[in-house]
């Protein structure tokens, strides 16, 4: 489809709608797996410790960082959606609010990533 056929070309709001859906699906599937792995505490301490050891490997450490990123974006974009629904001021400034969401996201990741990556890669 050529760009000429695309009647609707949303800007920040449309892309945040995409971000909200993609992060939501990713979080949902992680949640299913996360309840299953936690359920191994009911099997035996060894079974649980073995599965949770894989969460401490570099690959899973990076996936966890991605998960925390997805949760942060989904959570604060969710607050933006509520604000835009409820307040005329937020509706007028919804595009600025998108950048505030990304700003909060950047701050949270700046606080989380160094410490988490040190735990995963530094053995600290």
């Amino acid at each position: 489809m050529s760009p000429g056929h695309m009647l609707y070309r949303g800007r920040e709001g449309m892309w945040m709608w995409v971000v909200h859906r993609v992060t939501g699906v990713a979080i949902f599937f992680f949640l299913l797996i996360h309840v299953l792995d936690t359920s191994l505490v009911r099997v035996s301490p060894e079974a649980y410790n073995e599965i949770i050891a894989s969460y401490k490997t570099p690959l899973y450490g990076l996936i966890e960082a991605g998960l925390v990123a997805a949760i942060s974006l989904h959570a604060f974009n969710g607050l933006r959606i509520i604000a835009v629904d409820r307040s005329a001021w937020a509706l007028r400034h919804q595009r600025m609010l998108v950048w505030i969401v990304w700003g909060i996201f950047a701050l949270l990741m700046a606080g989380f990533l160094p410490r988490h990556l040190m735990h995963v890669f530094g053995g600290a």
């Binding site: 939501g24 949902f28 949640l31 359920s39 009911r42 401490k56 959570a75 988490h116």
Partner: protein
């Protein structure tokens, strides 16, 4: 000047839906549960990934230590139920948007409802039937309070 025509409520809903307010309640649930989940999940992530040794501290004894307190049992139960219903309802909206064949939609919605119900039940059972000091387990893997008599 013409008067606006009076709005007559529809006598039936074209989709055949029998609960006309269901989507309104779904909409309200997503917003209210979303705010609760923000607090529940960020606290969960902070305690498990940023305090102590972060992800490296998580093992059987760590989970047993948390669930020894009714606060964390209830916390995790509320988080489990709200997160799965919120996520399941979000997935339902996506299935309705993208699954264009009736049979595919029924199949996906059925699989979704089953998974959500099974995972909620499993998680709740695990939280409330959990034994922090299983008999015959390696003592090195158990929380310290198993040996306080």
């Amino acid at each position: 000047m013409m008067n606006a025509p009076a709005v007559v409520p529809p006598r039936f809903i074209r989709s055949g839906r029998t609960r006309p307010n269901a989507e309104k309640w779904s909409w309200m649930f997503m917003r209210i549960s979303g705010v609760f989940l923000l607090v529940l999940i960020f606290t969960h992530l902070f305690i498990n990934l940023l305090t102590g040794d972060g992800v490296n501290q998580i093992d059987f004894a760590f989970v047993a230590g948390k669930w020894a307190s009714p606060l964390w049992q209830v916390w995790d139960l509320v988080m489990l139920v709200l997160a799965l219903v919120h996520g399941g309802n979000g997935m339902r909206l996506l299935v309705n948007d993208y699954a264009h064949h009736r049979w595919l939609r029924s199949l996906l919605l059925g699989a979704l409802a089953t998974s959500v119900a099974v995972i909620i039940l499993l998680g709740a059972l695990v939280i409330f039937t959990f034994d922090p000091c299983p008999v015959g387990a390696d003592p090195a893997l158990l929380p310290g309070f198993c040996f306080d008599l």
